[in-house]
């Protein structure tokens, strides 16, 4: 079968949609990280706004609720001077049976320039990108279990900020990896940026052996997984996992795979602790660790706004 051109790139290899970290050339990832750096300084100015997206309309299409992520995208878009429209799809026409593509077509008719999409099905943003008008850019804010590229990028920005060089790091990702779009995006990005040791840590129901195909070392023991790590990324454990029969209880999970000060002590002394949020204290991470000196969870949020500004600014400047 023919391989198809990556829909995220135009024929010059420039980014026109951000759908997934997979398939992004390393140069594009680094461009986004470098650009994010300059936007970080915008947040420190008196006038926290630049006119790059002035007159452009950014539509937040959140088919899956998330006030946090939507808010950071809204802040980022507004700092670029864009007009932001938030669509709470669950209560709107889709609930009345309108198809995904019809919803998008209607919004395009209202002259949207950019869609920020979160959807519960893997591949939904790809479908939208294939069908929207040529000048419209699509940013994936999370699709099913497939990808959350802006989170992956801001996680990389965070690691680069604190650790500088990717090439000699050990990164451990802990928790419900099989269902995690954040984990997938992080793993792809870490691979592209040349991190030599990436560990996926958790019980077999959440970290099955076939994750090795993604280029990670699978560990079913927390101590082994965290030992000597430079970066520990904790993932949120969702209640559905207990209800769906994959885990007996959050208590047992915390005992064996939660990040406590004792487990953290096995990592390098200057290791950083990350979490995409929102955190479940006492389920995947102990309060003392979340609030402790190794935690960079709050800087991640700040970096997240700058990274999203960078993504939107780069996209808006490239033509299909």
């Amino acid at each position: 079968m023919l391989s198809k051109r990556n829909p995220q790139l135009n024929k010059h290899g420039e980014l026109i949609h951000l759908l997934s970290i997979e398939g992004l050339p390393r140069a594009v990832i680094e461009q986004i990280l470098d650009t994010a750096g300059s936007f970080l300084s915008v947040n420190d100015r008196e006038v926290k706004k630049v006119p790059l997206l002035r007159g452009k309309s950014v539509f937040n299409l959140f088919f899956e609720n998330s006030t946090r992520t939507r808010t950071t995208f809204e802040i980022a878009a507004k700092r670029l001077s864009a007009d932001v429209i938030n669509l709470d799809i669950a209560r709107s026409s889709t609930a009345k049976g309108e198809t995904l593509l019809d919803t998008v077509a209607n919004l395009s008719a209202m002259h949207a320039d950019m869609f920020v999409v979160r959807h519960s099905e893997s591949g939904a943003p790809h479908l939208i990108a294939q069908h929207c008008a040529p000048h419209v850019h699509v940013v994936n804010a999370g699709d099913g279990r497939h990808a959350h590229p802006t989170q992956g990028l801001l996680d990389m920005y965070t690691i680069r900020h604190f650790k500088k060089d990717f090439r000699n790091l050990t990164v451990a990702i802990v928790g419900d990896i099989v269902h995690s779009r954040v984990a997938r995006s992080d793993i792809h990005a870490l691979n592209v940026l040349g991190v030599p040791e990436i560990r996926a840590v958790g019980p077999k129901t959440l970290v099955p052996g076939d994750l090795r195909d993604m280029g990670v070392r699978v560990c079913h023991d927390m101590a082994e997984g965290v030992k000597g790590a430079d970066v520990v990324i904790m993932l949120r454990l969702q209640n559905e996992r207990m209800n769906g029969g994959m885990l007996p209880s959050s208590g047992e999970f915390f005992k064996h795979f939660g990040l406590t000060p004792e487990k953290l002590a096995l990592a390098k002394p200057d290791a950083i602790v990350m979490h995409p949020g929102p955190i479940n204290r006492g389920v995947e991470i102990a309060s003392e660790v979340a609030d402790g000196k190794s935690s960079v969870i709050l800087p991640q949020v700040t970096f997240g706004i700058a990274v999203r500004m960078a993504v939107m600014a780069i996209l808006a400047g490239n033509e299909a």
Partner: protein, 433 residues
């Protein structure tokens, strides 16, 4: 009506026929094969440079009537069969209403006969409403025209019911057609593996197929039933079938044109044309399926024809309706497989003519003597095609209402070999290019 097909290369794998010659047809039957002198034909079909083969026998094609008329009409789908050189086809019972009443079967056959001569062999439902609880009146349904019994895509969860169904069918010697897929393990949308993992799609492990196969074989040993396994998808599955055949269990098996040629990598960027059941597995599974079809472990190649609308495919991958159009691609893809496997043309034709007829066996009644073959005195079901032509699968080129297929030219970029020129069923011209 007297028809003379002149000067073609006559190939029939069942009788080892392979010679240039003519086919003289009268009263719906072949009256002479070979050199035909003056015949007084009403119509002469010039078959020089073309292959004259038995009409294809497709063991799985959904016509979507009754019930799903917006996806395909009996008329268009039977026309698609004829355009694909398919003269006999088996349709599964998952219509709406389900084919679990003799009256429904009779009506379907009646309607089909009015629209087309293509022979329709319906499968009856194994359990009422396919619900996996109460058995259907299998004898009544057979009298109405069913050639076997099936659960379509709905696996029976209750092994006690499955056991009884096999036992009951064995009483009469009916064949039970089963998709080997465990109801619970089979709930995903893509085959478990690196692609599904990367794309974040729920996976169907190979064990969904092997667990089901083991269960079916065990119950066959206990009941003595005959089973036809529909749509093998994995290397492990092929191995189990091979061993079971060696043991002497009364099984036959088929594979779809999609599983024969594609793998999970072809899903690409969530292309919903690849949303199929069974899901496309990895390259080594495909290789095993190809080898299995070549060595006879798998008996027949089927189109697994399932017309779906654009609305059903223009949604995120996991929400798309599984299925692809196939009747018009069966011949081309059989030939392509044989070319790739360096097998002779006869073998490509065998898996879509003589072998499916053998699978159907006595259920065909008197037809079994000549269906899927070119024999003097036998039914005149003939497919005349140009093996050297090629064509692109575009919506305009398809007679079926189902335009979605992984082999669409627009997405795959390549052409398929072989083009049907004339199809005859019961001595009448059903299709002419």
């Amino acid at each position: 009506m007297k028809i003379l097909i002149k000067g073609g290369r006559l190939i029939d794998p069942a009788t080892n026929l392979d010679r240039t010659g003519d086919v003289a047809i009268a009263n719906g039957r072949i009256v002479h094969l070979g050199d035909v002198g003056d015949f007084g034909a009403d119509r002469t079909v010039d078959a020089r440079g073309l292959i004259v083969a038995p009409g294809l026998v497709d063991l799985c094609a959904r016509l979507r009537e009754p019930g799903h008329e917006h996806e395909g009409l009996l008329e268009s789908e039977l026309a698609a069969a004829a355009a694909g050189g398919v003269t006999s086809l088996v349709c599964p019972p998952d219509t709406d209403p389900v084919l679990d009443e003799p009256g429904l079967v009779e009506m379907l056959k009646f309607r089909a006969r009015k629209l087309s001569r293509c022979r329709l062999f319906p499968l009856g439902a194994l359990t009422r409403q396919l619900q996996g609880a109460a058995l259907t009146e299998m004898a009544e349904l057979t009298e109405a025209g069913c050639i076997g019994f099936s659960q379509a895509e709905v696996a029976i969860k209750d092994t006690l019911v499955l056991n009884r169904a096999l036992q009951y069918a064995a009483t009469y010697g009916y064949t039970v057609w089963l998709r080997p897929q465990d109801a619970w393990l089979g709930g995903g949308v893509a085959a478990s593996g690196p692609v599904a993992t990367r794309l974040g799609l729920s996976g169907v492990p190979v064990s969904a197929e092997t667990v089901a196969l083991h269960t079916i074989f065990e119950l066959m040993r206990a009941t003595g039933a005959r089973v036809h396994l529909c749509r093998l998808s994995s290397a492990a599955g092929v191995e189990l079938v091979h061993a079971a055949k060696k043991e002497g269990l009364a099984i036959t098996a088929d594979v779809s044109i999609n599983s024969l040629h594609l793998s999970d990598v072809d899903i690409g960027y969530f292309d919903s044309a690849m949303r199929l059941t069974p899901p496309l597995r990895q390259g080594r599974d495909r290789d095993a399926l190809r080898a299995g079809l070549a060595d006879g472990t798998i008996d027949a190649l089927v189109s697994d024809h399932m017309p779906v609308t654009t609305d059903e495919k223009a949604v995120p991958f996991a929400e798309a309706t599984p299925g692809a159009t196939g009747l018009e691609l069966l011949l081309s893809l059989a030939l392509r497989w044989a070319r790739d496997a360096e097998l002779p043309l006869q073998r490509a034709l065998a898996v879509v003519t003589a072998e499916p007829v053998r699978v159907l066996g006595s259920a065909l009644g008197s037809l079994s003597a000549s269906a899927g073959r070119l024999v003097e005195g036998g039914v005149a079901d003939v497919c005349v095609f140009d093996a050297n032509a090629s064509w692109s699968v575009t919506p305009e080129a398809l007679a079926s209402q189902g335009k979605h297929t992984p082999f669409a030219y627009a997405s795959s970029g390549f052409e398929l070999p072989a083009r049907v020129r004339t199809t005859l069923v019961a001595g009448h011209i059903a299709y002419e290019a």
